[in-house]
Symmetry: C2
Subunit: 126 residues, 2 copies
């Protein structure tokens, strides 16, 4: 891997640290019924591969952390074919946290976009 690619990988990894949790809460808040990991990954689709750096397996530790923090609940259910599956649903606390995080995300997003397109720093001169 060349050096520039290393910088990019590190940057993407740092950005995904916060956003994957936000995205998982967002998907489960809109789900009509509990979802299992593979189904969540499928719903996120190709667009999600970049954010997850192509690794669907990266979802599982994040789902476990969100459960441990009380933002998700999970339940194991037998499947018609194959091994039993763990289904996840968002908790009431998870919905509250999603609201707060969405606010923080929006503020960060607008700030970063503002800096990148020059709106935020152009007005202020030294």
């Amino acid at each position: 891997m060349d050096e520039l690619e290393g910088h990019l990988k590190k940057f993407q990894k740092e950005m995904s640290a916060g956003t994957v949790s936000l995205v998982l809460l967002g998907v489960l808040a809109r789900a009509d019924e509990p979802m299992y990991g593979y189904l969540i990954a499928k719903r996120l689709g190709e667009a999600g591969e970049g954010v997850l750096a192509g690794k669907q397996s990266a979802l599982y530790p994040v789902l476990r952390n969100l459960c441990a923090a009380g933002l998700l609940d999970s339940e194991i259910e037998p499947s018609v074919a194959g091994p039993p599956r763990r289904y996840y649903r968002i908790t009431a606390t998870g919905r509250t946290v999603l609201g707060q995080w969405t606010g923080a995300w929006t503020a960060t997003r607008d700030f970063v976009d503002g800096v990148l397109d020059g709106r935020i720093t152009q007005g202020a001169s030294a």
Copy 2:
């Protein structure tokens, strides 16, 4: 600090890990001349306080890391009043990296926004 506040702080910290570097490259790419840390913080203004979690001092280690990675150059210059100041400017490599990171930022941003407003997962049903 209550538990919800703890979740929010952790989320904001995770998001700032990647975005502070991006924002610093963005500011210095648009600067007409080298800038010192306090001036950068002032330009980012109040909007930046949320992203930096209110800590201007958080900029300095990130500036040092960007220098060590060759994305910024720095130079110490005497100031008219007070101690000498370290001035930062973006390098050619830094501009290349800024272009790549801006692309990665845009993809992540559009993905997260798409999930939060239901565009990405609503079409796909189980």
